[in-house]
């Protein structure tokens, strides 16, 4: 095995906040006693990364001083509320990692349509937000093997309120294989309100988050996920969870987890092929992946990447 004695720092950041090409729109609905708001931001960008690191984290002498052995890895990708976040830091030991990231974000020029309707004879306003086609697709994998003094590793995958996260802290031995596929296709929203209050607000992104992790840990392991409700809790001003979980393990464990979260909302403006023609789902299918992409994942993850296209159920 080739050994490299060095201090490792790696920083990856694709954050649209500072991107001059970013576009955004926002809206708020304010009644006398309650309010609701939405903020959307995206950009036309693509990002691909492939990296491999293998070595021994060791002290380094520089200008007569001994630098403590240290390794650090920072990764942050965020667009249209789709997030991928990784942090790793470790002390002296042997370290091996491979990373693959493929990301694409598109802002289609289609007009976003907002309608406000209140018929005479009722107090009810219906505000509809339709036709936001700002899709995002992220496919990522990270393999990690460490043995040494101590390693801390955190990952977070988020998609418009849904998330999966894992923290591995104070590990002397850690091996981890992690795969994730995240896509966002379109977004609709609906608000029902009177002059006095917001009665109902629904945030309806059509989205998917697939995540698989296999790990052997020797320290603290935290695993968490959250699948968010599309309905807004007006009283508490947030979106409650439809399903969520938090787990913590101290000791030596082998942990495997696979999570898939998917929300599909009809878009009245799309019919037939148009509804199925966009990139992520079909493109992300296992059979469409290049050989080199498949090679890095192993056949066991076929299910995660084989996200078949959504098909409308036919009413009999």
């Amino acid at each position: 095995m080739k050994r490299v004695y060095l201090v490792i720092f790696l920083i990856i950041a694709v954050v649209l906040t500072s991107n001059a090409n970013a576009v955004f729109w926002s809206s708020s609905v304010k009644a006398n006693s309650s309010s609701w708001s939405i903020y959307r931001e995206s950009s036309n960008i693509s990002f691909n990364l492939s990296s491999s690191v293998e070595g021994k984290i060791s002290p380094v002498e520089s200008r007569g001083r001994i630098l403590s052995p240290y390794q650090s890895y920072y990764e942050e990708i965020r667009t249209n509320d789709v997030r991928l976040r990784q942090r790793t830091s470790s002390f002296e030991g042997s370290y091996k990692s491979t990373d693959e990231i493929m990301m694409q974000s598109v802002v289609y020029p289609d007009e976003i349509e907002i309608t406000v309707d209140k018929p005479a004879g009722t107090d009810l306003y219906t505000i509809e937000y339709k036709n936001e086609k700002w899709p995002v697709f992220i496919k990522a994998s990270r393999n990690l093997d460490y043995s040494g003094q101590q390693i801390n590793n955190r990952d977070f995958e988020g998609n418009n309120g849904d998330f999966v996260g894992a923290n591995f802290l104070y590990n002397r031995e850690l091996s981890k294989e992690q795969r994730s596929v995240i896509w966002l296709r379109r977004m609709n929203a609906t608000v029902l309100a009177t002059n006095e209050s917001i009665l109902l607000a629904e945030f309806k992104p059509t989205k998917y988050l697939g995540y698989e992790i296999k790990s052997n840990t020797t320290g603290i392991a935290d695993l968490s996920y959250r699948f968010r409700d599309s309905r807004y809790d007006v009283k508490h001003q947030n979106y409650p969870a439809l399903s969520e979980g938090e787990e913590r393990y101290y000791g030596t464990y082998g942990l495997k987890r696979r999570i898939e979260m998917k929300s599909v909302f009809e878009n009245s403006n799309e019919t037939g092929d148009e509804a199925e023609s966009w990139l992520p789902c079909c493109y992300a299918g296992w059979n469409d992946m290049m050989y080199f992409d498949k090679k890095g994942f192993g056949t066991g993850t076929k299910g995660v990447f084989g996200c078949t296209c959504y098909k409308r159920t036919t009413k009999s």
């Binding site: 090409n21 955004f24 708020s28």
Partner: protein, 299 residues
């Protein structure tokens, strides 16, 4: 100054329309645009609105019709500067209003509005523009009838601003307020400021040079389209201010006022009354070398 009083009145009219508020903003990084709407519809009123948002192109459009009270405004910032806004407010539970606007936030800022409203207690519509140097232009019309028959038809306005130029124009095919206490007020002003930077407050703050024309028609007033339809324009740049309007209408009386003030000089102002049907032209200006107002030309 009259403009301050009118701005306060405008603020009161907007705040008077309590109810559901919806605001929408967009930006493509360099320029941005926003609209805000206060509905305040009563149970028997309806609202039908369709807004098109396109952050990529910097364009935004809207069509709406509604009954009862309400207020809307839209504004845009240009890529290289300039601020433009257009809006209106309606009072009266029996009012029926249709409104369109389009706005553009590219190298310049531009907001255009089209309004038709009838059976209202009060109709107030305005446009305002400011450039990066603090030059401002403002135009408005107010139609008031305690008999709830205020009418404004074929009204359109445009606020336009670049980094160094601010302009508003407005016109209407007709307006009326068939009440002994009915009034139609039209007002335009433009100003240079002593402080640079875009202004958004619609007040001639720190005024350097200033031009204004104002007319108020009373007692069953009518703004007609024949033989002359109402048109109005005000603009300002670093060395000029200008305000002008012409109309044909009825009032008893028609009160007119023109005002020009060049910084460091004494102000010029004219006021006049006339009765009955008349065509009228009025303007006020300042340049680098002087100032002037027209004696109203009555026909």
């Amino acid at each position: 100054m009259r403009a301050y009083i009118l701005v306060l009145l405008l603020a009161f009219l907007i705040s008077a329309a309590n109810g559901l508020e919806v605001s929408v903003s967009q930006s493509n990084g360099a320029s941005g645009a926003s609209i805000a709407m206060n509905y305040g519809a009563l149970k028997d009123n309806f609202v039908d609105q369709d807004i098109k948002v396109s952050p990529v192109s910097g364009e935004m459009g809207n069509h709406m019709s509604f009954s009862g009270p309400g207020s809307r405004y839209a504004y845009a910032y240009g890529k290289y500067g300039g601020y433009a806004t257009s809006g209106f407010s309606i009072r009266g539970s029996k009012a029926y209003t249709s409104y369109d606007f389009s706005l553009s936030s590219n190298s310049y800022a531009s907001v255009s509005g089209w309004l038709n409203s009838q059976n209202a207690l009060e109709i107030n519509a305005y446009a305002y523009a400011s450039d990066n140097k603090g030059d401002q232009a403002y135009g408005k019309i107010n139609v008031y009838s305690p008999s709830n028959n205020a009418y404004l038809g074929g009204y359109s306005n445009n606020a336009y601003a670049t980094s160094t130029y601010a302009q508003v124009i407005q016109s209407a095919s007709s307006a009326s307020a068939n009440s002994p206490y009915g009034t139609i007020e039209t007002d335009l002003w433009s100003a240079n400021s002593r402080t640079t930077g875009i202004k958004t407050s619609m007040t001639p703050y720190n005024v350097k040079d200033f031009s204004e024309v104002y007319a108020k028609q009373s007692y069953k007033p009518v703004l007609s389209s024949y033989p002359y339809s109402w048109t109005a324009k005000a603009y300002a740049d670093s060395s000029n201010t200008y305000a002008q309007q012409g109309f044909y209408g009825y009032g008893s009386p028609i009160y007119t006022y023109e005002y020009a003030k060049k910084y460091g000089w004494s102000a010029l102002s004219r006021t006049q009354y006339n009765y009955g049907w008349h065509a009228l032209g009025q303007y006020a200006y300042t340049t680098t070398t002087g100032q002037g107002v027209s004696y109203p030309h009555w026909v």
